[in-house]
Amino acid sequence: MKPAPFAYHAPDTLDEALELLAPGDGVRVLAGGQSLVPMMKARALRPTVVIDVNRIPGLAVVEEEGGALRIGALTRQQALLDNDVAGRAQPLLHAAGRFAGYLATRHRGTVGGSLAFAAPWAELSAAMVALDAQLEVRSARGERTVPARSFFTGPNETVLEPDELLTSVHVPAAAPRTGAGFHEVSARYRDFAQVAAAATVTVDDAGVCTAAELVLLCVAPVPHRVDVAHLVGTTGDAAALDAVAGLLVGLEPLDDIEVSGTYRSRVAVTLAKRALGDAFDHARGAA
């Protein structure tokens, strides 16, 4: 299993990379390579040009300011997990990030690569949608910012133009007393998610919910944000969580070689409730 022929560039600067990306068609960016390389070796992807961005300085920086985070696209997934500041600022990043691959792949796989590859099971995609992250995108033509909530357009599809490079992710600050929960089912330990649920909950002094987010993976073509506004004003009691089931009616997840859509639908309810329940517990403990 060897890749089809391709040209390889390893630019030293961002400008150089953007210039190489400019022709667009047939060009792929190599960051951690944990998805791209196996797919190239299986010849499922046959880019004509590969641009290795690993030598570009400054793309792997994580910065915090007033609770908000700027995460360089080239930040390794494990580096994000090892970053206590990021974990404290937005606990969902760690709760979800722990499920992104396993130790070996996380040491190579990058945050930006995961988002740009847009695998439908990507845990970090769910987290960024839940956290309303803003993605900074550059090209030789200029730069723009895209909300994570409108970034994904389908399985392995995003709004990125062929000449654009995702350079960083801005995660807004969490409100005080915000907790996170993440639950996932996969074939084996840390396999690709078959279904997953990411949740955040913010509570007031009395432990009553003031805001909540729920994003599901693998129940729709893109990370699926569920409106859980009904939780506001509740304490996350059983009745409030049970009501989530009704919100998922009508989703029609697909059957695939791994599991059926029916299984996904059933398990999504369970995982959503567990993720929200954890987020409530965590929020109350995180006061």
Partner: protein, 818 residues
């Protein structure tokens, strides 16, 4: 059973090594593996590490269709690609080579590249030899093949019907073999029994999945006409001549050089196609050619898929739980070829009654050909399947009687005093104390505690289940199981020897040469070093082990069927015995004492009871090599011995096959207990406890034995919960990579505690029994039992594997039966 039937040389070895009066010095210790340092440091020199000067690389084009005529192949574009040396098709094979070997009956012909039609997805239709593998694969993309698709034969039941498309037209049927064997009076036993249970069971197709796939380098020497083939694991001396036959060269012109392998699990046991292929390609171009399967080829075209069986099975028993008779009918989907014949069922017949006193057995087999990759060896070799069937029936019987699952087994165990025990098929169990193993496993896990725990958990609405299963572990096959199927077999081998050459050099160092490539993840060098240490009382780390190539090799059969430790220990003990005789004679002369007063101690020979009267091996060896005139007059120089150790106990089947003879007689015994908790909302499970107790006779090295038990168990968990090669309606493999073929990782495995009991075999060197496969014989049965138990409120019966999380959720959303 008289021990007099034993092979006389093996009997001598058994006698000489049986001694338990003096405690053993080296056998039985958990020494570090002598293999580990080089493998763990990346210095193992695997096949893909070998680079010969001028070496070319090959890639293959696999068929996209499961069943199709090859109308034409246009190789012109591929040949025009710079760096391509030659494109090879079935036409070249038809002109220059002969078909691959097969032990199956009938005209079932397999070629290393398909000639007229392809019979399964991924079957090789062309190969490219190029300067590197990249170019070779690029060129494969440029080969244009025109196929005419044929009706696909996938369902082995439908394949047997009149009018089905045929996988092999010359055979005129897809049922390659069909026969019913009857041992005892089965019909009467079923009539007389109070009760019976019946189950239709399905065992899924999976495969051994080593990290290091099959690979070989062919190196043809035009000058001498010798074809040298480096291959990662071959029991090469056993069937070298068959490869020479495929290559149409005299067997003496073929030289196979063994290379260590990163795993086999059976998939390299009868590894003939890849080395033959590499040799063939090298002969075509006159240069060294490397070919290594990629993962896709290893999954779709490896010739070593495991069993794929549908069963209709019944167990007759009385109201008191006593088992009476077993009736098993099996349709086995062998895929497109039949290289081993139906040997995997011979394996099953060696221990078909398990550890139970069942007197009457009927076994019907239909071996069916379909458009799938053919079967080969996979850890258990068919006996892991039959054990699952038997333990399923036993659990059903316990449920039918409302009898505890431990108790029903206990009542039927073969009593400790009845060994050697002749089973209904004719095979024997050499020794055992099954009650002892059961008692130990119950104690090790504190079984009563978990029964109580389960009751409490259930009261809380949790789904905790316990599985308890037993198994035999037959070891050391003899070769009759490959042909006793037929009344008039074409070829009836009865040999399956193993050899060792032991040399003590002039400076006293011990170098041992092994005659099978046995290094595929097991510990042959540790075993051999520990045995030599035991014999000579030398530091096992000082022993040097190497491997003969086929032109220098003595008879060997290779690792497989849990045979290598038993057989190589016998061969090393036999060679050591000869050397020790010579050493004693020299030492007796030098020390001027009677031979009977000498003992091997502290790296040499000493006078019993006199600590300072001692000679190092080096003292004796230097004399043996350099001082002929100091030796006894009739003694030639040197200190080397070779031993070919035959299967210790093989007997022939009788004419009507109502007695298959002794063919797999060294039989271990094991029990596993697992406690699990099932999350019925996701179908996922958690292990609360997993314990195994095995009796594999005398233990050479407890740590490496634990490794075999744990590794086999985890592979069994793969079969039980994760693994299945999925074919779509057109016969294409849907999971041809690890993305969707799920192997359990260490993170998915439970923490397994392993206990041992040692009941020596009376027939083997030191009383060792083989133990490479037992874990995989128990884990599928235990997971079936434990999940069934956890879901008992829903009245679940596990009848097929793997048991998916989705299946568990479906069961648990069904109506409760309690």
């Amino acid at each position: 059973m008289s021990i007099a039937e034993q092979d006389p040389n093996a009997a001598k070895v058994a006698r000489e090594t049986a001694g338990t009066e003096t405690p053993r010095r080296w056998l039985g210790k958990s020494l570090n593996r002598v293999e580990d340092p080089r493998f763990l440091r990346g210095q193992g020199r695997y096949l893909d590490d070998i680079k010969l000067p001028g070496m070319l690389h090959a890639a293959v084009l696999g068929s996209p269709h499961a069943h199709a005529k090859i109308i034409s192949i246009d190789t012109s574009k591929a040949e025009a690609l710079p760096g391509v040396v030659r494109v090879v098709t079935g036409k070249d094979v038809a002109e220059h080579a002969a078909p691959l070997p097969s032990f199956g009956a009938g005209p079932i012909v397999q070629d290393m590249i398909a000639i007229e039609k392809v019979r399964h997805y991924g079957e090789t239709v062309a190969a490219v030899i190029a300067e590197n593998r990249y170019i070779a694969e690029d060129a494969c993309d440029l080969i244009e093949v025109v196929y005419e698709q044929l009706p696909v034969v996938l369902d082995p039941v439908a394949a047997r019907e009149e009018g089905s498309a045929l996988v092999h037209e010359a055979l005129e049927t897809n049922t390659a073999y069909e026969r019913t064997f009857s041992f005892g009076e089965v019909d009467r036993a079923f009539e007389d029994a109070d009760r019976s249970v019946t189950a239709n069971l399905y065992w899924p197709r999976s495969t051994g999945m080593p990290m290091d796939t099959n690979g070989a380098i062919g190196d043809y020497d035009r000058g001498t006409g010798v074809v040298t083939i480096h291959a990662n694991s071959m029991n090469f001396t056993y069937f070298l001549w068959l490869i020479a036959g495929s290559l149409k060269i005299p067997a003496g012109k073929l030289r196979l050089v063994p290379v260590v392998a990163g795993g086999s699990f059976g998939s390299k046991f009868f590894m003939h196609k890849v080395p033959t292929f590499a040799g063939f390609l090298s002969m075509l171009v006159g240069k060294p050619v490397k070919y290594v399967e990629d993962r896709r080829t290893h999954i779709t075209n490896n010739d070593h898929h495991g069993s794929d069986r549908r069963y209709d099975a019944s167990l007759a028993f009385d109201d008191d739980g006593e088992f009476k008779a077993l009736r098993i009918s099996c349709i086995d989907d062998y895929g497109a070829y039949l290289q081993f014949g139906t040997g995997t069922h011979g394996n099953a017949l060696s221990q078909i009654v398990g550890p139970y006193r069942i007197q009457h057995v009927e076994y019907s087999l239909a071996a069916v050909l379909t458009n799938k990759n053919q079967q080969g060896a996979y850890r258990g070799f068919g006996a892991e399947v039959s054990n699952w069937i038997l333990e399923r029936l036993v659990d059903l019987a316990a449920r039918d009687l409302d009898l505890d699952r431990v108790e029903i087994r206990r009542r039927n165990l073969i009593p400790a005093g009845s060994f050697p025990y002749r089973t209904p098929t004719g095979n024997i169990y050499d020794s055992g104390n099954y009650q002892g193993v059961l008692a130990k496993v119950l104690e090790d896990v504190d079984y009563d505690h978990w029964v109580e725990y389960r009751a409490k958990a259930r009261a809380e609405g949790r789904h905790v289940g316990i599985g308890v299963v037993a198994s035999q572990e037959r070891s050391v096959f003899s070769s009759t199981e490959f042909w006793f199927w037929f009344d008039d077999p074409q070829f009836t081998p009865t040999s399956s020897p193993e050899s060792a050459s032991v040399r003590i050099g002039p400076t006293g160092e011990i170098v041992v040469t092994l005659h099978s490539q046995s290094m595929w993840g097991n510990s042959p060098e540790t075993v051999v070093s520990q045995v030599l240490a035991e014999e000579f009382d030398v530091d096992p780390a000082s022993v040097v082990v190497n491997y003969a190539d086929s032109q220098n090799a003595l008879p060997g059969t290779g690792p497989g069927g849990s045979r290598y430790t038993v057989m190589v220990a016998g061969a090393v003990a036999g060679a050591s015995s000869e050397l020790k005789d010579k050493i004693r004679r020299i030492a007796s002369d030098k020390l001027e004492v009677a031979e009977a007063d000498l003992e091997f101690r502290d790296g040499g020979v000493g006078v019993v009871g006199v600590p300072d009267r001692h000679l190092m091996l080096a003292d004796i060896a230097m004399t043996a090599y350099m001082f002929r005139l100091d030796l006894p007059p009739d003694m030639p120089s040197g200190l080397a011995a070779h031993c070919t150790y035959d299967h210790p106990l093989t007997t022939l089947p009788n004419a009507d096959r109502s007695d298959l003879g002794i063919f797999y007689p060294f039989v271990g015994h094991a029990w596993h207990i697992a406690v699990i908790e099932v999350d019925i909302e996701t179908g996922k499970l958690e292990f609360l406890r997993y314990a195994a107790v095995h009796d594999a006779g005398t233990i050479v090295n407890p740590r490496t034995l634990d490794g075999q038990v744990i590794g086999g168990t985890v592979q069994g968990l793969g079969t039980a919960l994760y693994e299945e090669i999925l074919y779509d309606d057109l016969g294409r493999v849907r999971n041809e990579s690890f993305e969707h073929y799920h192997l359990p990782s260490s993170m998915d495995a439970p923490s397994i505690t392993v206990g041992h009991q040692e009941t020596p075999s009376p027939y083997t060197a030191y009383g060792i029994k083989g133990a490479g496969e037992g874990g995989r014989m128990l884990a599928p049965a235990i997971m079936s039992a434990a999940i069934e138990d956890a879901l008992s409120p829903y009245g679940v019966t596990v009848t097929s594997l793997p048991i998916s999380a989705e299946q568990i959720v479906e069961w648990a959303t069904g109506p409760r039966s309690d």
